[in-house]
Symmetry: C2
């Protein structure tokens, strides 16, 4: 028996309360039994999104939410400014281009974040840009973009909205949708919300809803205006993924008991401990600035293959972390501290990394990183 530990940046472990609730017998999505379930989920998501506006619930992965955002708020030919700082920024470009938007990219070297001034300049140069697309946490590189600063810039442009992929940032970072003025914010179930994959969430500002009224492309499954009407009746337009929404209420209950600020702080502390422990082992952060609280991206020591480290963690020790994506493949490995994560997930990760690296011939003293994490996480 090799005991398993899931430390990947999604899907993430699901707490037993949610697993068991989802194992309850199915209820019907159009029966009165389900209305309070959806109403509670809806209110919980507004709390989590820090918004009074609608947060739609769609049956799809997070990517479905991204596609829906492009298709519901924009039309072919509309100008899109994409912050492309990694694999998921790249995805914004592919979706926008695929739906025939006129895409301009701000391309950022992997490991770095966008400078808000760059977005400001792009908008000043061309105020006809309709949408600014960005990740909050770019999972492939482990950076967190300064969403607050970006929102304060985009807010000044009447005909521009800010579309944030917050899929891996939700719960790990404070994202004040209404206060900051984020227009569209996309989440997914299998990250900080500690649920199985299957739900996308889309928060929508009033400013963005006005855009939706003008979007011309065909839409049927991801039809946000229809979903908004359904949501007002505590329903979804098509068959509700009832089990996942029941699980969502359990996750939200756990998070409400913890408190939003505490949840953000927990992620920050776990991420910080992971980074400091890695540093103590002489590892380089792949993330050069503004590290995300969701995932830590570390460079493989010189001469070592990041995929090999990932593989050894899994095969030798039962730890499923993550390797690199795209241009970072082989160069890095990534450890998540996201969702249902606590102190001893970090200890496990760092201890496992030490043992794998030592096994691969990297000179280090076992326990060095662990001790640093222990010190930082002691209460």
């Amino acid at each position: 028996m090799l005991k398993r530990y899931l430390l990947a940046p999604g899907p993430t472990p699901v707490p037993p309360e949610a697993l068991l609730a989802m194992a309850m017998p199915i209820i019907h999505h159009r029966s009165p039994d389900f209305l309070p379930v959806l109403e509670s989920a809806k209110k919980g998501l507004q709390w989590l999104y820090q918004t009074e506006n609608d947060v739609l619930i769609i049956c799809s992965t997070g990517t479905g939410g991204m596609v829906g955002a492009v298709n519901n708020f924009f039309s072919p030919g509309d100008k899109a400014l994409v912050v492309n700082a990694g694999n998921f920024g790249e995805r914004w470009t592919k979706i926008c281009a695929g739906y025939n938007l006129d895409v301009k990219e701000i391309k950022i070297d992997w490991g770095y974040t966008v400078k808000p001034e760059e977005v400001e300049k792009a908008l000043r140069d061309d105020p006809s840009i309709k949408g600014v697309f960005v990740q909050a946490s770019e999972t492939s590189t482990g950076v967190y973009h300064d969403i607050r600063a970006l929102a304060s810039i985009v807010k000044k442009y009447e005909d521009t909205i800010l579309v944030v992929d917050a899929i891996s940032a939700l719960v790990a970072h404070d994202l004040k949708m209404d206060d900051w003025g984020i227009d569209v914010m996309i989440g997914g179930s299998q990250k900080g919300l500690m649920l199985p994959p299957g739900l996308a969430f889309i928060g929508v500002s009033e400013k963005a809803w006005a855009f939706a009224g003008k979007a011309t492309s065909p839409k049927f499954y991801f039809n946000f205006q229809k979903e908004r009407e359904s949501l007002a009746k505590n329903q979804t337009s098509f068959t509700s993924p009832v089990s996942l929404i029941i699980g969502l209420n359990e996750s939200l209950k756990i998070l409400r008991a913890e408190g939003l600020e505490n949840a953000f702080r927990r992620h920050e502390e776990l991420a910080n401990a992971t980074r400091e422990a890695a540093k103590a082992l002489g590892l380089e952060m792949f993330t050069r600035e503004s590290p995300s609280n969701a995932v830590t991206a570390l460079e493989a020591p010189t001469g070592m293959d990041g995929q090999e480290i990932y593989k050894n963690l899994r095969v030798k020790y039962g730890i499923t972390a993550a390797g690199g994506q795209g241009q970072a493949k082989g160069k890095i490995f990534r450890i998540a501290h996201l969702g249902y994560a606590g102190t001893f997930d970090v200890i496990t990760a760092i201890a496992g990394v030490e043992m794998v690296l030592k096994g691969m011939g990297h000179p280090l003293e076992l326990g060095t990183g662990v001790a640093v994490a222990q010190k930082l996480l002691m209460v």
Copy 2:
């Protein structure tokens, strides 16, 4: 305590084996752990679909699969022939029209099926029709269209494919995809496959894949060709709904143990017993011909409201059946015998209907229908 019984045409009850398997800790969709899981699901679906071609697995409701089928195999301006015999036929029209196909409808009175000759005539009159869209089981009226006959007609037209919404028919009816020549067949998890909502399945013939190569509309989330490439590697393009796919393997295991023919026969016998019992109670079938094995649609006795019958079943007896949809709302109520269903689901349904109708003042002898169902289901 009011014990609950779910007898709606989707979502349907989930067997405990699947519920428990889905409550197991999450595994990562890109880890080698998951590859055999998806491979097994893939093979099981081919067995269920009676096809050697690909059966794609997408994270969405069945409607997502329908939208994907329209968008992946057709382009704006393409001619579509839609069999509209109810609420879901209507949905084909809405999707096709929404994606700017040139839609011609064969409109059928609710409760009746399409005559294959009508489709034959339409294709003879206009062989440039690219797609024929139909439901196998039209859940709103309880009819089963003669898919075998339709396939044998469409097969003769090189430039036409048959797209079948088999969402509620799958497992309840024998649908020989390869033998009959069905080109695109869409299923969903929450019906005969007795899983929570969240998965759409799309079987695709070689003939249909050639159509996919020519479709011009933007697609990203429902990109069937990409999903085909992913499936060849035992993956899905985006985060796999790992829990549901694990549950799918459990459902498929149960069905394999039962055998396909036996599963079809079980549904047929349950449906038949429900109909005969209803007849013994003097109830009229809303379905005038070719009743589906998935759901029985019954007219409310004269002067009674079908929604009231549905409501009394639920409120007084804890039975969630279904009312009517669209133009049938108020006129009918529906009882499903779909998926994880057996003899005593029929007995429960009929006994409950008897008690509700008697309570509403309808003259009947309690037990009359039940006895008929008992007689038919004795072994």
